[in-house]
C-alpha cells in the first residue's frame, strides 16, 4: 500500500509538470490555432528566472574584517550580499534562502512580457501560414532561446535549492496507518501545480474574460461578429500560457537542476500528453498529464524494470500509440479539431 501511494506521488510530481506544459500548449493551440514548439523553452526560461533571481540576490560586496585572519594570516575578506546589508543579516539570509518561491513573483511579469512579445512580434504573423511553417518557426525560436540561455548560463545544470524549511523529507499518512517518506518540496510542487491548474480553470470558467476566450475557442468567427476584439484577448491568453509554463519551470528547479535543454526534453513528452488527452481539450491535457505521469512512475519501479527492461522509457509512447489507434481523437478530444 505504501509503495503504491509512493508511486502515485512520484507520478503526480512529474505529471504536474506535464500537465502544466500541456495545459499551456492546449490553450495556445485552442485560441490561436498554433502549435508552439517553443513552449518548452518557456518552461526553461521560467527555471532560469529563478536562477537569475538567486544570482541577483547573492550579489555581494567585499569588506576586510581586521579581527579575523585567513589561513595565510592575512586579514579575512568577507563577502556580504547586498540584501543582507539592506535588510539586516537574518532577513537577508532568509530572502536568499527563499529565492525559489520568491522567483514566482519575479517570473510572472517576465513571462507575461516574454509571451506578449513572442506573440505580437512573431507568432501573429504566422496565423495565415500553413501549420508546418508555424511548427518550423517556433522550432527555430526554441533553438535560439535555448542557445541564448546556454551562452549566459553555460551548458551545465545550475542548482537551485529549495528553502531549508521545505527541503527535508516529510513522513505522511501516519494517521491512516501508513508510513511514507517523501521530499517536502515535491509535495509543495504537486500542491502548487494543483493550485495553478485550478486557478487557470477558474479564470476561464468564472470571469467574463475567460468566458469570451472559451467562446472564441469554440467558434472564433461568431465571437468576432459580435464585435468582440478576440485577438487581443488571445494575445493575453498567450501571455498567461507562457506564465503557466514559466511558473512550472520556476518551481521545478529544486527537483531537477535547470539546464538549457530541459525545455526540449519536456516538450516532446508534453506533445504526447496533448495528443493523448485530445487536441484542444483543456481537461484532457491535465488528465492525460497526470495519468501518464503516474503510469511512468509505476513503470519505473524495480519490479517493472526487471520484468521488462527499460519499460519506463517507452511506456508513455506505447500508451500514446495505443490510445491513438483505438481512440484517434484522444481521451477527451472533440470532433473537428485538427481534422482535414
Amino acid at each position: 500500500m505504501d509503495a503504491i501511494i509512493l508511486q502515485i506521488l512520484n507520478g503526480l510530481d512529474k505529471g504536474s509538470a506535464y500537465a502544466l506544459i500541456a495545459l499551456g500548449l492546449t490553450l495556445i493551440f485552442g485560441t490561436l490555432g498554433v502549435v508552439n514548439f517553443a513552449h518548452g523553452a518557456l518552461f526553461m526560461i521560467g527555471a532560469f528566472c529563478s536562477v537569475t533571481l538567486s544570482k541577483l540576490l547573492n550579489l555581494s560586496f567585499e569588506t576586510v574584517d581586521p579581527t579575523q585572519k585567513d589561513f595565510l594570516g592575512n586579514p579575512l575578506k568577507v563577502k556580504t550580499p547586498y540584501v543582507q546589508e539592506w535588510f539586516g543579516p537574518e532577513v537577508g539570509a532568509a530572502i536568499i534562502d527563499w529565492s525559489v518561491p520568491l522567483a514566482i513573483l519575479f517570473a510572472i511579469p517576465i513571462m507575461l512580457a516574454v509571451g506578449y512579445v513572442m506573440e505580437r512580434g512573431l507568432i501573429k504573423h504566422f496565423y495565415k501560414r500553413p501549420h508546418a511553417d508555424q511548427i518550423l518557426v517556433t522550432f527555430g525560436l526554441a533553438i535560439v532561446l535555448q542557445e541564448i540561455v546556454k551562452f549566459y548560463f553555460g551548458a551545465n545544470p545550475i542548482q537551485t535549492p529549495a528553502p531549508d524549511a521545505l527541503s527535508g523529507v516529510a513522513t505522511i499518512g501516519g494517521s491512516f496507518g501508513l508510513n511514507i517518506s517523501y521530499p517536502v518540496w515535491r509535495l509543495v510542487y504537486i500542491a502548487f501545480s494543483g493550485l495553478l491548474i485550478f486557478g487557470a480553470f477558474a479564470f476561464l470558467q468564472f470571469t467574463t474574460f475567460g468566458m469570451v476566450v472559451r467562446a472564441g475557442m469554440a467558434d472564433r468567427e461568431t465571437v468576432q461578429l459580435l464585435g468582440i476584439d478576440i485577438d487581443r484577448r488571445f494575445t493575453i491568453m498567450f501571455g498567461i500560457a507562457a506564465a503557466i509554463a514559466g511558473l512550472a519551470g520556476v518551481m521545478y528547479g529544486p527537483i531537477n537542476a535547470p539546464n538549457y535543454h530541459m525545455g526540449m526534453d519536456f516538450l516532446v513528452l508534453s506533445f504526447v500528453v496533448v495528443v493523448v488527452g485530445g487536441m484542444g481539450s483543456l481537461p484532457g491535457a491535465v488528465l492525460a498529464g497526470f495519468l501518464l505521469g503516474i503510469l511512468e512512475a509505476f513503470a519505473s519501479t524495480t519490479w517493472a524494470t526487471t520484468t521488462i527492461p527499460g519499460i519506463n522509457q517507452i511506456i508513455i509512447y506505447l500508451v500514446a500509440i495505443i490510445v491513438l489507434l483505438t481512440r484517434p481523437r484522444g481521451l477527451m478530444g472533440k470532433k473537428g479539431v485538427m481534422e482535414d
Binding site: A132, L136, G140, L141, F151, V268, G310, Q313
Partner: protein, 400 residues
C-alpha cells in the same frame, strides 16, 4: 540523356563535377596558412557532406513533395546504422551487405511506422513521428540493450568485437570496413605546391552513391508519382474527389524517404563502424528538417546545399574562437576591436547553433523557398527579371 531534360541534366552534371572535385574545391587554403583550419577538404567532413546530403534528399521527397513534416526521420538513420554494423559483426567488414541491409531494414521500419502515423495528417503527423522516433531512441538506448538481448549495445554504441563471428572475414582483407578489399580509410594525399589534397576511398564511394540517389530523386520528381505527391501537398480534398487514393502515395513517399535515411545511416557506419543511439535522438531529426528547409524544400538541389552548409557550420564555423577573432580584427584600434569581438563572439565558435537558429528563423519567415529561392531572387534581380531555370523548383516544371 539518362531520360532527363536538359535543365535537369545540367544540374546533375554540376553536382557530379562538384562532388568529384570536392577535395580541391573544399581545400582552397595552403596547408601552412593561418586559414588552413577553414579547409573542409578532409575525408571525415567530406563524407558527412555527401551522407547527410543523401539523408536530406530523401527527407525532401517526403516533405518537399507531400508537405508531410516528419520530426522522426533520425529513427530510420539509426536503424540503418545498426543494421550495417550487424552485418559487419556477422559477415565481415565488406560494406556491400551492410549497406543493402540498412536500406531494407529501414524501409520495413518506415512501412510499419508510416502505416500508423499516416492515419493522421498535419500537426498530428509531426507529433506522432516525433513520438515514434523518441521511442525508438529509448528502445535503442536502453530497452534493446540488456544482457539477455543485446541488439544495440546501449550507451557504448554497437561495434565489432574480436569474438564476433565475421563468417566471411579472411586475413587478406583489411580489418576495417572495405569495399571488396579497398579500405574505406584508404586516402591518397597529393601535394601541389603549398596545397595538400586528400582523395579518400570512403568519400568517393559515398559520393557516387549520393549521385545515384540524386539522379533517382530527379526521376521521382518528374514522374507521374511525383506529380501525385505534389497533388497531396496541394489539395487532398480535390485529390480524393478525383478518384485518387492519397494514402498509398504518401506511404510510398514515406517509405522511400525512410530508405534514403537508412542508406545514409548505413554509410555512416560504413565509414566509421560505430553506431550509437544518439543518432536517433529527435535533435537529429530536427537537423535534417533544418537542412532541407534552409536549402529549399521542394527544390532538387536545396537539401544537398542545406546539408553541406550545416555540416560546414558544425565542423568549421564552430572553430572560430576568441583568438581567431583577435587575429581577424587586429587591425582595429584596441577599444573598438574588443567591442566588435564582444558583439560577434556569441554567434561564432560554440555559439554556432545560435547563428543557425537565427538564419533558420529568417529563412522560414522571409524565404519559404530556402536559400535556393534567395539565390534565384538575387539572380533575377541581377539579370533584370529574366526567368532563371537552373535548379528551379519542381512546382514550376514547364513542359517539353
Amino acid at each position: 540523356m539518362f531520360g532527363l531534360k536538359n535543365t535537369d541534366l545540367r544540374l546533375l552534371l554540376i553536382v557530379f563535377v562538384l562532388t568529384m572535385a570536392a577535395p580541391f574545391i573544399l581545400n582552397p587554403f595552403p596547408t601552412e596558412s593561418g586559414l588552413a583550419q577553414f579547409n573542409a577538404g578532409y575525408p571525415d567532413l567530406m563524407q558527412k557532406f555527401v551522407i547527410f546530403g543523401i539523408f536530406a534528399i530523401g527527407f525532401n521527397i517526403l516533405f518537399g513533395l507531400t508537405g508531410y513534416l516528419s520530426f522522426g526521420h533520425a529513427a530510420f538513420l539509426g536503424v540503418g546504422s545498426y543494421a550495417c554494423v550487424w552485418m559487419f559483426k556477422l559477415l565481415g567488414y565488406n560494406v556491400v551487405p551492410g549497406i543493402l541491409l540498412s536500406i531494407v531494414v529501414s524501409g520495413l521500419f518506415a512501412l510499419l511506422i508510416g502505416v500508423i502515423t499516416l492515419r493522421r495528417s498535419g500537426i498530428y503527423f509531426s507529433i506522432l513521428t516525433l513520438a515514434f522516433a523518441q521511442m525508438s531512441f529509448a528502445l535503442a538506448y536502453s530497452v534493446l540493450s540488456n544482457p539477455k538481448f543485446n541488439l544495440t549495445n546501449g550507451e557504448t554504441g554497437l561495434q565489432v568485437y574480436a569474438d564476433d563471428p565475421q563468417w566471411f572475414h579472411s586475413d587478406r582483407l583489411p580489418d576495417l570496413p572495405h569495399l571488396f578489399g579497398l579500405s574505406m580509410r584508404a586516402t591518397h594525399k597529393m601535394q601541389l605546391g603549398a596545397w595538400e589534397f586528400q582523395f579518400n576511398a570512403g568519400y568517393y564511394m559515398c559520393a557516387v552513391i549520393m549521385l545515384v540517389c540524386f539522379y533517382l530523386a530527379i526521376r521521382i520528381f518528374r514522374s507521374p508519382f511525383g506529380l501525385m505527391l505534389r497533388a497531396v501537398k496541394s489539395n487532398q480534398q480535390r485529390m480524393n474527389y478525383t478518384g485518387l487514393n492519397s494514402r498509398p502515395y504518401t506511404l510510398a513517399a514515406f517509405v522511400i524517404s525512410g530508405m534514403y535515411a537508412g542508406l545514409a545511416g548505413g554509410l555512416l557506419s560504413a565509414v566509421d563502424p560505430l553506431a550509437g543511439a544518439e543518432r536517433m535522438q529527435w535533435t537529429a531529426s530536427g537537423e535534417v528538417v533544418l537542412m532541407t528547409i534552409l536549402g529549399g524544400a521542394g527544390t532538387l538541389i536545396g537539401p544537398v546545399l542545406g546539408a553541406g552548409l550545416i555540416k560546414y557550420f558544425e565542423n568549421i564555423f564552430s572553430k572560430i574562437n576568441e583568438s581567431v577573432l583577435h587575429q581577424w580584427f587586429g587591425f582595429l584600434p584596441d577599444g573598438l576591436e574588443d567591442f566588435v569581438i564582444t558583439l560577434i563572439y556569441p554567434f561564432v565558435g560554440k555559439g554556432w547553433h545560435l547563428t543557425l537558429g537565427l538564419i533558420f528563423m529568417l529563412v522560414v519567415i522571409f524565404l519559404p523557398g530556402g536559400l535556393i529561392e534567395g539565390g534565384q531572387r538575387i539572380g533575377r534581380a541581377l539579370r533584370g527579371k529574366k526567368a532563371s531555370d537552373a535548379g528551379k523548383s519542381a512546382s514550376t516544371e514547364p513542359a517539353e
